[in-house]
Amino acid sequence: MVDLSVRVGSVDFANPVILASGACGFGRELSEYVDMSTIGGICSKGLTLLPREGNPGCRVAETASGMLNSVGLQNPGLEAFLQNELPFMTGLGTRIIVNVAGHSTNDYQKMVERLGAPGTPVDVLELNLSCPNVTEGCMTIGATADGVYNLVNAVRSLTDKPLWVKLTPNVTSISETAHAAQDAGGDAVVLINTLLGLAIDVKTRRPVLQNNTGGLSGPAIKPVALRMVQECYRLISIPIIGVGGIMNAADVIEFMLAGASAVEIGTASLLHPAACAKIIKDLTAYAEDNCLEALSSLTGELKLW
């Protein structure tokens, strides 16, 4: 039997396949399609301190091999999450990652304090410094190395739980922001969130999305995500979780070769609810066919020219 397990810092996962934030809700709907105890982990929808209804109007635009979304962090807020969603997630029998978003440093601090308290059944906190669909916080913070450093630094001492820092690709140098995350005590970086994009309805002469712009996800962005994972793998020393356009097991292997210790699956689940299960099955077959003892041995094995 091949060993699919991976370790990201102090946390081990049954396999490298984690459901990405915003593309799995809190696991309820996907649990009707997939035995959630078989997947590596699940990352909650981006949470904020207070409930948010998100952005108005049309929130999705189809693009070539991808989609734009402008959900804008619609979520029930921290309290409702703890009461109604976290218990459900805990019952799924998989690793739980909570995606934390905020308008201000203070928001992040409050949430990290609460979610990261020793008792909470949360394995990892993922700091979302990269949502492109809100006007304050998030991507604004994640756009500069200083912003990332200061935010991570401001929350680091508030919890003993691992802190993953989810970064935006909309920067000149991803390795600089990744470095900042590392320097401030982040346990891993998650690369990448969506690329900022625009779709236009020629008939109405308006943006398709009522938020005007949105975040681009799906296979279209995979080459950019892979490049950023590879670039950071060479330049930082904390683990990397790869995200962006992963549709199948071959994509997972590409991300691992590029330097990812684990991966997150976003848009693929929207298209095929059981995508994660199929990917895990195919990863097993791949590892067997290639006589890999441990899938984790692939991480960073890409040989550059």
Partner: protein
């Protein structure tokens, strides 16, 4: 466990200009679907496309959807051949509620007639009388005329062009209903948003319970991405509305809850 189906197209039937009834082989959907629910169907573009379920044959294990060509996705779906296989999720969402429904006034416009046909069919089987009010652009665009008549006690058609039934919209057709037609009736409306809004207002005036089926652009269709939300009235203190998933809590909502 629910699953994504690989379903073969088994029949294509042209109904009217640009409107085609597609029948797929899929036992589970045929057996589980309720009127007002929909399926999300793969096409050559990136996202699946949602369509209301129109008929089911739980014996023959098929179901059908009516598709109107409006863009690249529907075009692609309509150029498929019998035998082609589609990835399909469904049945999805919450359909019409028949709880306490004693009589139905089904008001349909355009492709909205497809899910209503399924509702009329169920009503007939449950012995619930139905009145059917359908609006079309013109006689050429019309379809399901005799089918709807068969399932309804009374049928009124309206056409913008005036060449079929009443000249005008379904609002003009509704005026032809007699007071006794309205007694104990629940209104089911599916059609363009503006029509559903007007019919809802009409139902409100006549103190009739009314259910509408909203259409939003979707991605997943089963509740995980939150791109398809509708504005639904909220009783929370400092919150005039909630964003509720059209694909999961809907597509059918009580008209009284909808913020248009």
């Amino acid at each position: 466990m629910l699953k994504e189906y690989e379903a073969a197209l088994v029949e294509k039937k042209l109904l009217g200009i640009g409107n085609v009834l597609l029948t797929f082989a899929c036992e589970d959907i045929a057996k589980m679907a309720e009127p007002g629910q929909f399926v999300n169907v793969s096409c050559s573009l990136f996202l699946k496309r949602p369509f209301g379920i129109c008929t089911v044959d739980p014996i023959g294990n098929t179901f059908s959807i009516g598709v109107k060509e409006v863009g690249a996705g529907t075009k692609d779906i309509l150029t498929a051949s019998v035998g082609d296989v589609f990835s399909i999720l469904g049945p999805l969402g919450h359909g019409f509620s028949f709880d306490g429904v004693k009589k139905i006034i089904a008001v349909g416009g355009g492709t909205g007639i497809y899910p209503l046909y399924f509702a009329l069919d169920k009503a007939k089987r449950k012995g619930i009388p139905a009145i059917c009010v359908n609006g079309f652009r013109s006689w050429q665009d019309a379809f399901f005329l005799s089918e709807c008549e068969e399932l309804s006690e009374k049928t009124i058609f309206a056409s913008d062009a005036g060449d079929l039934g009443v000249k005008g919209t379904v609002m003009d057709a509704l005026k032809l209903l007699q007071p006794e037609d309205l007694t104990d009736a629940t209104v089911f409306v599916v059609g363009p948003e503006i029509m559903m809004k007007k019919v809802s207002a009409w139902a409100h005036v006549h103190q009739l319970s009314c259910q509408v089926s909203l259409e939003k652009r979707m991605a997943c269709g089963f509740g995980i991405c939150l791109v398809c939300v509708c504005k639904i009235k909220s009783d929370a203190d400092n919150m005039p509305f909630h964003h509720v998933r059209c694909c999961k809590e809907g597509p059918v909502f009580q008209a009284s809850e909808v913020i248009w």
